[in-house]
Symmetry: D3
Subunit: 170 residues, 6 copies
């Protein structure tokens, strides 16, 4: 049994993320997907709850639900023991996939192998851009797996992002 780990915020889970999951599952039996910043939600940077992000991921990954392990991880203030805190919430794994510099530094200093993620259309599939498209005209639907689009519409996610953005009038 070979297991890998892939951390991300998935705000929202887009086609680039799905591509990464499929790529890793070609080589590994199981993939632990860590939903980071799990305690944050209903903000512009983190509009969706961890539960909603887990729901998105499962909607998009129906073909290999038995091979993914989706775990919410709340941020802690002290970065240095980040990897060991995370490890206490997940089954054992061999390789960590990430392009995030801080994740790479923190994992490498503990001797964990970190591999890069060969992202698809890296300038397009970007969470921040997708959240901005939700605020404006649109185009965001093409960047997400179809099932994620449906799920976001069910929870009125775009309306949520727009209302959070509204200027407080107090």
């Amino acid at each position: 049994m070979k297991r890998a780990l892939y951390p991300g915020r998935f705000q929202p889970f887009h086609k680039g993320h799905l591509h990464a999951v499929e790529y890793i599952l070609k080589e590994f039996d199981e993939l632990i997907i860590c939903v980071m910043a799990a305690q944050h939600n209903f903000t512009l940077e983190n509009p969706f709850t961890a539960g909603e992000r887990i729901w998105m991921i499962r909607s998009a990954c129906k073909k290999f639900l038995d091979r993914i392990i989706v775990i919410p991880i709340s941020n802690i203030e002290n970065n240095s023991p980040w990897l060991h805190n995370l490890k206490s919430f997940v089954p054992p794994f061999e390789v960590l996939f990430s392009n995030h510099p801080l994740v790479k530094i923190l994992a490498e200093k503990e001797g964990i192998e970190v591999r890069p993620i060969p992202f698809l259309k890296r300038e397009e599939y970007v969470g921040e851009k997708i959240r901005e498209m939700m605020l404006k005209k649109g185009g965001w639907k093409e960047l997400l797996p179809k099932d994620v689009v449906e799920m976001i519409e069910k929870i009125k996610g775009v309306e949520r992002v727009r209302r959070i953005k509204e200027k407080d009038v107090i």
Copy 2:
């Protein structure tokens, strides 16, 4: 017994806030005033402690002290259960008064009625502007209830705001 709830940071409690309290008390028997971000103080955005803000509110509301319930509420990281966390610290209420978009979203998703606050001179009575006026020439005194002005002078509040603003020379 009809009770309403009105959350705010009240940094400081100004005439717009007092107007809102008087407006709500026309219809409701009691008003719970939640002093939000209660754990924050001695910063530019939150110069006054929760205790000082409670003191301000009671100074300005002497005529109906028996009908207001002033409760400090510390912020939590997880926004989603915000309303249920708050509910555990206050007596029951029927209506929540707020113009804050996030408050409205979080309350509406739990089926709580949210009503807008018909603020007086909305462009003037703004906490942020008043704190800026404290840093500069002045004019802030006209925007606060007289008793709040006296109380701020007693604690040397303006000097505090200015000193917090000073550039650290280390």
Copy 3:
């Protein structure tokens, strides 16, 4: 304006507490009643939420609602700065009333005057005993102010205490 402070858990607020409040208000203009362990509820030792305890206190103190300031205070782990943490959530006060040894030590080391509370029927009016009476036959109603009894019946408080006590069958 002379203000005193009286901290307690008030699980529930009984006639001994009410007697103490009336005693202090004979000498002081205002009394800050701190509802301690405010974040604890739905346990055997702390069955009622802070909001419910505030509600009890206001029900029992209808005659002097304008002179009491009821503030929930969550416990912190570090006892030593207990008083200074508390002070940031309440208006200024001159005297602290308590029979609690730890409260006395922590207040005295900061130079705050602590006075004892001349409790009424000290062996009867005890929160722990009242909670035990709720679990068994009864007799608890005579020990609480009439309005607190009504309020506890409205929220089915006795049923709550009994259910929390039930042995988990998992």
Copy 4:
């Protein structure tokens, strides 16, 4: 899609737990298994980490890995908003399965349907007893699914429980 939720500490995941999961999956499409007290580990009451408990559950539930969603949930101090805090970390669900009195009270007050779990051999399949058997002669292996036994042996779980129990000699 009908989803249920089943919270537990699973220290360790035993045959009674497996029976409950199978029972619920007869009626529901998916089951969210919440690993409670997720932040606690390496203690007598909670010897295994959340990650190890997730690993146990997946080992025992190989036949329906695509239908279970295993989520670690850290305890919070404030019980009252327990359900709403939990909800922010899981996909939506219709029914909560639990025999735990506190869980039932907290869920019922929010209008969530709670159903009992028809446990198998309720006096035998008890986490606390199994942990005690691990400390003594044995017999614990018959009470756990075979794959969980193997996994506990791999991580030397029994040795861990015994060493935690050792009297500190400082």
Copy 5:
């Protein structure tokens, strides 16, 4: 430069602790003494603040103040990353000295060498017994380094322990 680490609660720092420090400093250039449970104080189990415990240790170790590094470490709930959390607050070290079973398990799983402490009069020099002696007649002074006794008398430490023990009369 060879550095060792020695964690303990030091409630209070007694002759057995001093003996351990002297023993370790025979082989190592520097010793990091971690004052554990640093956030706890003014309780029966942890009567002294971290600052007071640091003061005790420095009073007793005057001969090698340049070779000890005394660091307060607050407890965290999640035991598993205990060592990595601790490491972020101390300079690097080679060997950890402890007789505490949990400390040994947590350090060994990370590949850190743990060595036992050859305690002097292990049945006598025990923090818990010394705190009990403080409550009763005495005899505690012989078990502590002379400078620690003086320091405890200066802060009226025995009176503190006794007052914490007093039954609350509320």
Copy 6:
């Protein structure tokens, strides 16, 4: 025994800091150096862990290791009791040295004497500038004590600062 306290973040500990320590030790027997924001590390503003900062300080202060007491202090959200929280982690002191406006306000309101630090080359010896120099060409080595430079090179500190700065490509 006269003791002073000097709080700072020391990211990194530079010649200005060393000058301040030497200045204070001319008058005081012992100096408590508080490493503030101790829980923060591996960020652009706080690249070094508290343990690394303690290591830096001891490397630079070899001549008076017996007279400095270096204590990590984690930030708390509530500023008002900042000084009393800090006091519980350090031995008693008489004077606090700081040029930081907030530190001065918080200490003065508790009646603690605060004295300014006569910094050397105040426009050069600035943590923020030194961290920026680490990101670019250099020149930072001249601003740090020689032993601190060696220690930063040993832990590859400059590479760390640069990698944290890298744009995340996810």
